[in-house]
């Protein structure tokens, strides 16, 4: 990507955006397309997926056959640069089970950790969008008004109808495959918005057949992957009515993006731009407007405030030189990830805001949430010895949306909110560990018999993973650690976290359900079924759906932001990442982050036009 250095930045911008992922990318896209002059600051290095993505590299061509390591937590070919569960230059503090006091977070395996929070970061242009799962589910009407519905958690100060037009636009812009199934609280998209759902794989069809009998719906999942080329003739006009320049730019980029060729895992990124990542979808057209400057390696320390109570810009450290710089803008947008944005606010102290900028409510850092995760493995005899066929596809093609709304409403479940099921299987590219599942069944052996066992059982394993809603609670939050700073002298965060009984019981329900499905398929469970949800639930942060910490609301005393993601205290300050979320439905948050960011950016444009900002 063409970038600028600190010395070449302009004296003043309309908007400075901190972060370049789903939120920063979307905010910058929307603003620059409408002519605003934007500076984007990214804490990581520049990154170009077109030239850097390892397409078709095999596991055998990577060290340790591409296994997970402390350096590359999701394996060698994962797109993540300079990040993971720990970023040594940027420590954070956690509690550890059965150990008093605060500890520096050092674990890199989220499944075995005893930390009370695992914070995944990424230090590269495009942030976590480069490697994410691309699962793009709309939140439904219930998900915005959970308090109203069951008396728990918090309501959003906006509803599904406010968000729907932005979901439409984001889906059309980034390209999302899937289908409309008309299911409860699982919104359909308008005609000609989604791209075609790819054909189901064998294990998905078999799961569907069994689940149909169990009255569990198996339907095409929605993912941000181009199953077909976007319609570059009609979509630009629907995205940017009355804006010929924007239509032309995005139309060209849609033409340049290739349809998926059904190989190479999405987590590596995509050099043909067939899936969504900020660096292939948001940033290139934004740059083409001529309205966007990007400074990488810029670690933001604080937001500046003038005597009139407005922000004037931000201070950042150039990580390459260690020097401090400040940039000026009419509007400051934090899009650095929920916790990172909260950290910046808490570190921006002044006489007017001794507890951190925009924190008169005391709510910055509060209501930290992740998604409830639990997982069960099984072996399915029906899938043994299948004729070899290519099951790579685009990753997951089908899923099970939450299907027990009625039972839950009738009080028949012992937890409050739902989960969806992501399930994996098929004949995947062999990787280390491939024999372990198999010898767990056969007991071991060696020689020709062992090779025959490998052929027979390969591709017969499935994993069922639940992704469930967490209800925000008072005991889960981040705050500044008075005793720890990062390499640049910026005070670090420390984390408090507790699940409520709802999440714990939900995780136990997941295990029970997955066992029922596996056994109905004629299979055997190969991992341990936990009846105690505390043993079933993944450690907090493990699902990397970090939301909350700068909550939106309708009451300035109880929330940080209004419904436009605008600070109640400082009107030219916005947060457009996952921070504003006040519920964390089982719908993976990235699509909603983008929709919310687009809506917020539209509001900024409107207010700038009116002269209010």
């Amino acid at each position: 990507m063409p970038l600028i250095t600190s010395s070449k930045s302009k004296p003043e911008y309309d908007v400075v955006i901190v972060g370049s992922g789903a939120a920063g990318g979307q905010t910058a896209y929307t603003l620059t397309m409408e002519g605003a002059k934007v500076l984007m600051l990214e804490a990581g290095r520049n990154y170009d997926p077109v030239t850097e993505t390892p397409m078709f590299q095999t596991n055998a061509q990577a060290p340790l056959a591409a296994s997970n390591t402390p350096d590359k937590n999701f394996g060698f070919h994962d797109a993540t640069v300079g990040g993971g569960w720990r970023v040594p230059e940027e420590p954070y503090s956690v509690r550890r089970r059965n150990q008093p006091g605060w500890h520096e977070a050092t674990d890199w395996n989220a499944l075995t950790t005893d930390q009370n929070w695992m914070w995944w970061r990424s230090r590269m242009l495009g942030g976590r969008t480069n490697h994410w799962g691309r699962i793009s589910l709309r939140m439904g009407p219930y998900d915005f008004k959970p308090l109203e519905r069951d008396g728990l958690g918090l309501d959003w100060p906006l509803g599904y109808d406010d968000m729907a037009p932005y979901y439409d636009k984001v889906e059309m812009l980034i390209g999302v495959y899937g289908s409309n199934e008309g299911l409860e609280n699982t919104p359909d998209s308008p005609n000609r918005t989604l791209l075609p759902a790819p054909a189901p794989k064998a294990h998905e069809l078999f799961t569907k057949k069994i689940c149909d009998d169990m009255k569990i719906p198996v339907v095409p999942i929605h993912r941000a992957v181009l199953s077909a080329k976007q319609d570059h003739r009609t979509v630009p006009g629907r995205l940017h009515p009355h804006n010929a320049k924007a239509q032309k730019i995005i139309g060209n980029h849609m033409e340049l993006r290739q349809a998926c060729f059904w190989a190479t895992p999405c987590g590596r990124g995509c050099s043909t731009r067939a899936n969504y990542q900020s660096t292939t979808v948001h940033i290139p057209p934004a740059l083409e407007t001529g309205n966007l400057d990007i400074i990488p390696n810029a670690m933001v320390r604080e937001v500046l405030l003038d005597e009139g109570g407005k922000t004037t810009g931000v201070v950042y450290i150039d990580k390459l030189t260690g020097r401090e710089h400040s940039v000026k803008a009419r509007i400051v947008v934090l899009a650095a990830s929920g916790c990172e944005s909260a950290r910046i606010l808490l570190n921006s102290k002044s006489n007017q805001f001794p507890n951190g900028l925009g924190n008169s409510s005391g709510m910055v850092g509060r209501y930290l949430m992740d998604t409830v995760g639990a997982s069960v493995d099984g072996q399915i005899p029906a899938l043994e010895n299948l004729p070899p066929h290519n099951t790579d596809g685009a990753g997951v093609h089908c899923y099970i949306p939450w299907w027990k709304y009625r039972e839950q409403l009738a009080g028949k479940l012992d937890f409050a909110r739902g989960y969806h099921i992501e399930f994996n299987g098929g004949r995947e590219m062999p990787k280390p560990g491939i024999a372990e599942n198999i010898t767990n069944i056969t007991g071991g052996g060696y020689g020709k018999r062992f090779k025959e066992d490998m052929r027979r059982y390969y591709g017969s394993f499935m994993n069922f993973s639940g992704r469930g809603e967490m209800i925000p609670n008072e005991n889960s939050y981040c705050e500044i650690d008075p005793d720890r700073k990062d390499k640049w002298g910026i005070p670090a965060l420390r984390f408090h976290f507790q699940w409520s009984d709802h999440e714990i019981k939900q995780a136990a329900h997941m295990h029970k359900t997955f066992q029922e499905i596996i056994e109905s398929m004629g299979g055997r469970v190969t991992s341990k079924i936990q009846t105690n949800g505390r043993k079933a639930i993944y450690p907090p942060g493990a699902i990397i759906h970090e939301v909350g910490t700068t909550c939106i609301g309708s009451d300035s005393k109880k929330s940080v932001l209004n419904q436009w993601c605008q600070s109640w205290d400082v009107k030219n300050l916005f947060v457009t990442d996952g921070g504003p979320f006040v519920s964390n439905a089982d719908k993976n948050p990235t699509l909603s982050i983008m929709a919310l960011a687009w809506r917020s950016a539209d509001y900024m444009l409107e207010e700038m036009r009116k002269g209010n900002l």
């Binding site: 850097e52 390892p54 590299q57 095999t58 596991n59 055998a60 061509q61 060290p63 340790l64 056959a65 390591t69 402390p70 350096d71 590359k72 060698f76 797109a79 300079g82 990040g83 993971g84 790819p198 054909a199 189901p200 064998a202 069809l205 078999f206 057949k209 199953s227 060729f261 059904w262 190989a263 029906a382 004729p387 070899p388 066929h389 290519n390 099951t391 790579d392 685009a394 093609h397 995947e428 590219m429 062999p430 990787k431 280390p432 560990g433 491939i434 024999a435 010898t439 007991g443 071991g444 052996g445 060696y446 020689g447 020709k448 062992f450 090779k451 490998m454 052929r455 390969y458 591709g459």
Partner: protein, 211 residues
């Protein structure tokens, strides 16, 4: 660099000789004795991804000659040639294992200890039972040892640790073997190919699943 040749003083000369002697010791150990220690560096949080690597590219391999011979023999015992695929020794599984146990990461360091101890145990058993190294045994002799340790659940107490080694080694060997193109062909992985359209599963697959 100083272009003029300099005369070594005594202290420098001693240092040089000492260094040369030390390197001979290392070399001898590498050939005849204990494996060299882990000296390599981790590949870091930003390695070049768009590249094909081979074992040894990131950190030096450390198995000595005898250990390599034992690994070769054991991988071939576990993954022999048959009508579908070649033996492990023909696809470089030994290099994968060497890379693994030479890696400068905590998990691999733990595996290294178990694997090296296990290899030593294997040779000791071979000496005890047949007065030869494991690599020099006949297939029947090798099998006699392997049969005592290849089923972890059935291993007697005295073979417990050896059986744990065997299970770990088998996992590692299979991980390296099936990651290769020959391994793919054997096991029936036919992906990593670009296609225009993702098709529904073939008829024979659907039929077998009753779909």
């Amino acid at each position: 660099m100083d272009p003029k040749p300099t005369k070594l003083n005594r202290r420098e000369a001693i240092k040089l000789v000492a260094a040369a002697t030390a390197s001979i010791t290392v070399l001898q150990q590498k050939t005849f004795g204990a494996a060299a220690t882990i000296a390599g560096q981790p590949y870091g949080v930003d390695p070049l991804l768009n590249k094909a690597y081979k074992s040894g590219d990131f950190w030096p391999l450390t198995l000595n000659t005898e250990q390599r011979a034992t690994v070769l023999a054991l991988t071939d015992l576990i993954l022999p040639a048959d009508d579908k695929s070649p033996a492990a020794s023909e696809v470089g599984t030994v290099d994968f294992i060497d890379e693994w146990i030479s890696a400068p990461y905590e998990g691999q360091r733990r595996d290294r200890q178990q694997i090296l101890d296990g290899l030593a145990w294997l040779n000791q058993q071979s000496e005890n039972r047949f007065s030869k190294k494991f690599a020099d045994l006949t297939l029947k002799e090798q099998s006699a040892i392997a049969d005592d340790i290849c089923y972890l659940d059935q291993a007697s107490d005295k073979y417990r640790i050896a059986a744990e080694f065997f299970a770990s080694f088998r996992n590692l060997a299979a991980g390296g073997y099936y990651a290769t193109s020959q391994g793919w062909l054997d096991i029936g992985y036919v992906g990593n190919l670009p296609t225009d359209k993702f098709e529904v599963p073939p008829q024979e697959v659907l039929k077998k699943l009753g779909l």
